[in-house]
């Protein structure tokens, strides 16, 4: 008798557990026929092509169309959602899915402008590496809490022209001495661009000599003291930069263009596969190589998030899930496509799925996983905004 009751209770509990969240099949059904306005930075042709491929795949498999809204800056999408909230548009918003992380994510999350949590409900989320890649669950020291779904991984590397740089620097101090010997041949993007300010963060990490204070929010008291070595180093570096540090390329691709034109020999990149991808696309000479600093470089994850007033939430979730599919992630990591390293834990994949990664083509410009080493955690977002503001105050002409 008691055994029957126990079994009955367990069955009821099991049934309840199964029927609780919206089943994925329901979401896929409702997503059919939707067109997802995917707001993503449009400055990189490879990524644009990848998003277009994803659109074709998702349309064929799930009947969901993707409209790639090309942004000059992710902040544009944030502005739009804020403006829509200000105008009282709480449903049917013009942004369905946005490629986002860091301060932009913080801005939306804090103002309650995100839909979710949804990420952990995605079937493919189970394969994401949440133990070794802490950046997948902590976005610039802000807990993700499932409000955004991981997409691609990034880590700071330096791309050098192997023909002209015989002695690649392996720390920011070595970078400074190299720049002094070869003035005007090093550039970094403007600090209004994420890559530019991360270059400064990397320098701060090495020069501040300790990671822990950077994981805490910056305060008025400690900011000047902690960043003093950074500005001292940068003051020496600035005259040695391209155009004597009075002019900066707008973003990563602009910087890459400079290298392709022969105007610089060293550039900073967030994509470990950038050198290989660019050579393949004819955007950099074949002599480029990738250099990782000896004591590690900053890495982070890019996510996709869904605004609270998105018109096509189900379609957006289907797209987010598709982006986490091992075949999609492997195709993304292929340097002939976009060369973005995966956010998945290869150990969690089935042997067939892991083979997709093993079979990826190799290149001399591509670093190995061993070379990439450990990635340093991103500092608290407040450091970034303060560093950018301080830089603008000091170095705007």
């Amino acid at each position: 008798m008691t055994r029957c009751i126990v079994i009955a209770v367990m069955l009821v509990l099991a049934g309840a557990a199964v029927s609780q969240p919206a089943p994925w099949q329901d979401i896929e059904l409702r997503a059919r026929g939707q067109t997802v306005n995917f707001n993503a930075w449009g400055g990189d042709e490879k990524t644009n092509a990848f998003i277009q491929w994803a659109g074709d795949e998702v349309a064929a498999r799930h009947g969901v169309k993707i409209n790639h809204v090309k942004l000059r800056d992710t902040a544009e999408a944030v502005t739009r959602v804020v403006a829509e909230k200000a105008a009282g548009r709480n449903a049917g918003g013009s942004v369905d899915l946005v490629w986002i992380n860091g301060p932009n994510f913080l801005a939306l999350k804090q103002q309650g402008l995100l839909y979710g949590p949804f990420a952990e409900g995605l079937p493919n989320y189970a394969k994401v590496d949440t133990t070794n890649m802490r950046s997948n669950v902590v976005d610039f020291t802000i807990p993700v809490d499932g409000m955004e779904s991981p997409w691609r991984r990034a880590q700071i590397v330096f791309v050098i022209d192997g023909k002209r740089v015989a002695d690649p620097p392996r720390s920011v101090a070595e970078l400074l001495s190299w720049a002094k010997r070869h003035p005007g041949r090093l550039a970094h993007p403007s600090v209004r661009n994420f890559l530019g300010v991360t270059f400064l963060k990397q320098a701060l990490h090495e020069l501040a000599g300790g990671a822990s204070v950077l994981q805490q929010p910056a305060t008025d008291d400690n900011f000047a003291k902690v960043t003093a070595p950074l500005w001292a180093w940068y003051d020496e570096l600035r005259p040695m930069l391209w155009r004597k540090g009075r002019q900066f390329p707008d973003n990563g691709p602009a910087q890459r263009q400079l290298m392709n034109d022969g105007e610089i020999d060293i550039m900073v990149s967030f994509n470990p596969a950038e050198a290989a991808v660019s050579v393949n696309a004819g955007l950099l000479p074949p002599t480029v190589r990738t250099v990782v600093f000896s004591r590690g470089t900053i890495g982070n994850t890019s996510f996709v998030a869904i605004p609270y007033n998105a018109a096509n939430k189900e379609g957006a979730m289907v797209v987010a899930n598709f982006l986490l599919h091992p075949a999609t992630q492997a195709r993304a990591q292929d340097y002939r496509q976009t060369g973005n390293f995966t956010v998945l834990d290869l150990a969690k994949l089935s042997p067939a799925e892991r083979k997709l990664f093993d079979d990826l083509p190799k290149s001399p410009a591509l670093p190995t996983n061993a070379e990439l080493g450990a990635s340093l955690l991103e500092p608290h977002a407040s450091w970034m905004t303060r560093i950018a503001a301080e830089w603008e105050k000091r170095y705007t002409n």
Partner: protein
């Protein structure tokens, strides 16, 4: 009889509707930007009027430099542009190749500003085409020299990029104004009095022509002070001009930046008014000095050499423009073009078909927006001109200034306010909103292109047709329009080119959801693959040129 009156009443609404269509957004938008400039924008929590946005603006790092380069580029450009335009017209007057030269300049006029700027960024860069053509045999460079050209902190590249388009525009305006002056007779008299060709033109013709070219020059002033797309491509960035500074504020994730951005936009509007007022004052001074110069009677003065120098500058600018457009066309079919090769080392024409799918959507959007806005503008303008003819009342100079309002008010000063209103009405992001935003600028240009030929049509044609029993509508459709088909097509080509070139209106009214060739090209210009940018810029140039080719071919066909 009743039908004629009926038509008359409908037509009478035309001027009102036209003015409403293009002035309302400007006025409403200005108000919508003025209020946030003083802290009032309830939607994001600004409830009190205050001067805080202005304090924030002035406290922005680099504000003083930004203001300085804005004024520098905004004043130098129109001055130099007017000088070169007048010098060229003085030197080239009456020469046999003048007509062919004017025709050759038309493609430059048709190409959007941003497309020319994108090409120019490649041509004049230290690793660009000019240096590549000279390296390494003449310069000995095997790496590009350390020279700041594109994006240089003083804005010289911006000035050059603007001159490349503004000088041909002013030359066109001067040539148009010449038709209303008795040029040949006055030139004959002046030359018989002993003045050389250039000197005679400068002293006898130029002052008469200047009066009619004033408004276009003011439009150049406004544009140079407040341009965004060209400044984004070749202008300084650290800090940028005031217009780009405002743009950055309007697209910042931190909405609190809208307030100082609005303040910057209002400041730009005030700057434009101030510079125009200063220009008018300088005109008075110039008039006094000019009279003395003319009365002094110097025959062998500096006019000749100065005019020749100005014409050389014009030729250089034309060469830069042509090479800019050509370089982008080359990039679109190149597969590899490294420094210091003078031409691509590997070609790949097939990439056009690969890019076709990505190019298709912006292409059709640009075409649709252009065609629709041109047609709507055409209907309104023809209605206004017909109404004017039937009322037998000619619109005065007040109307001319009214038409120029959208061209004199900085775009960024009213587009933000207009966007807020569109979002309120739920119309933002639609093609209709973008078409309307384009209409604001297309209308004035179409009217200005069409009004002179329309008014100059011999009224006796219409009168004879009417006496043969044709209704006013029939006269319009069967007599006037066919007779004016060539000017109509040219005006439409101009209007279409204006629509293709619009950047800020598409970005603001379309809320980023509407992608045209121009918006894509400007976005990609910041470093994307030049082969891709080349394809976009080439299409940007080809579309308006096709419009003009149609107009010219039609003209030849009906001869």
């Amino acid at each position: 009889m009743g039908e004629a009156v009926h038509q008359l009443t409908h037509l009478r609404a035309a001027p009102l509707v036209t003015v409403a269509v293009f002035l309302l957004p400007v006025v409403a938008g200005l108000a919508g930007t003025l209020l946030p400039a003083f802290g009032y924008l309830p939607a994001i929590g600004g409830l009190e009027l205050s001067l805080a946005p202005w304090r924030d603006l002035v406290a922005t790092p680099g504000f003083a430099t930004s203001l300085a380069i804005t004024l520098l580029t905004g004043i130098v450009t129109p001055m130099v542009a007017a000088a070169i335009a007048f010098c060229f017209c003085a030197w080239a007057h009456g020469r046999p190749w003048m007509r062919r030269a004017s025709a050759a300049v038309t493609p430059i006029l048709a190409t959007p500003h941003s497309a020319v700027a994108i090409g120019l960024a490649f041509v004049v860069a230290p690793s660009g085409w000019i240096v590549r053509l000279l390296s390494p045999w003449a310069t000995g460079f095997d790496v590009p020299p350390e020279v700041a050209t594109v994006g240089d902190p003083r804005g010289v590249a911006l000035i050059v990029a603007l001159l490349v388009k503004e000088v041909p525009y002013l030359v066109l305006m001067i040539v148009g104004a010449l038709a209303q002056v008795r040029v040949d007779a006055h030139m004959a008299i002046a030359r018989s009095l002993g003045y050389s060709r250039a000197s005679a033109w400068m002293k006898a013709i130029a002052p008469q022509v200047y009066r009619q070219v004033r408004l276009p020059i003011f439009a150049v002033v406004a544009f140079s002070l407040s341009v965004v797309d060209v400044a984004l491509v070749v202008g300084p960035s650290n800090p940028p001009t005031l217009a780009v500074l405002a743009m950055r504020g309007f697209t910042d994730a931190d909405v609190a930046r809208y307030f100082p951005a609005s303040a910057a936009a209002v400041l730009l509007f005030l700057l434009v008014m101030a510079v125009i007022a200063a220009w008018v004052t300088c005109e008075r001074v110039a008039r006094v000095l000019g009279r003395r110069w003319i009365a002094a009677g110097a025959r062998n003065g500096a006019s000749g050499p100065v005019a020749a120098a100005g014409s050389l500058a014009f030729a250089a600018l034309a060469l830069l423009a042509a090479s800019s457009i050509l370089s982008m066309a080359l990039w679109s079919v190149a597969s590899q073009w490294r420094f210091p090769d003078a031409l691509p080392s590997a070609w790949d024409v097939a990439q056009w078909s690969r890019r076709m799918s990505a190019l298709a959507a912006p292409f059709w959007t640009t075409l649709a927006t252009g065609v629709v806005s041109t047609l709507v503008a055409l209907v309104l303008v023809v209605a206004c001109l017909e109404n004017e003819a039937r009322m037998r009342r000619r619109a005065g100079t007040g109307v001319l200034w009214l038409l120029y309002v959208p061209l004199l008010v900085p775009q960024i000063a009213f587009l933000f306010g207009a966007q807020v209103l569109l979002v309120r009405a739920g119309l933002d992001g639609t093609l209709a909103a973008v078409v309307w935003a384009h209409l604001v600028f297309v209308l004035p240009y179409l009217f200005l292109s069409l009004c002179d030929p329309w008014r100059a049509l011999d009224p006796r044609y219409a009168r004879s047709a009417a006496s043969l029993g044709a209704s006013p509508l029939r006269v319009l459709v069967a007599v006037k329009i066919p007779l004016l088909s060539r000017p109509l097509l040219v005006a439409c080509a101009v209007a279409f080119a204006v629509s293709v070139a619009q950047y800020l209106p598409t970005v603001f009214a379309g809320n980023g959801l509407v992608a045209t060739l121009t918006t894509e090209a400007v976005t990609l210009a910041s470093g994307a693959d030049r082969r891709v940018v080349g394809a976009y810029a080439t299409l940007q140039a080809l579309l308006p040129m096709a419009g003009f080719a149609v107009a010219v071919a039609w003209g030849r066909g009906t001869r």
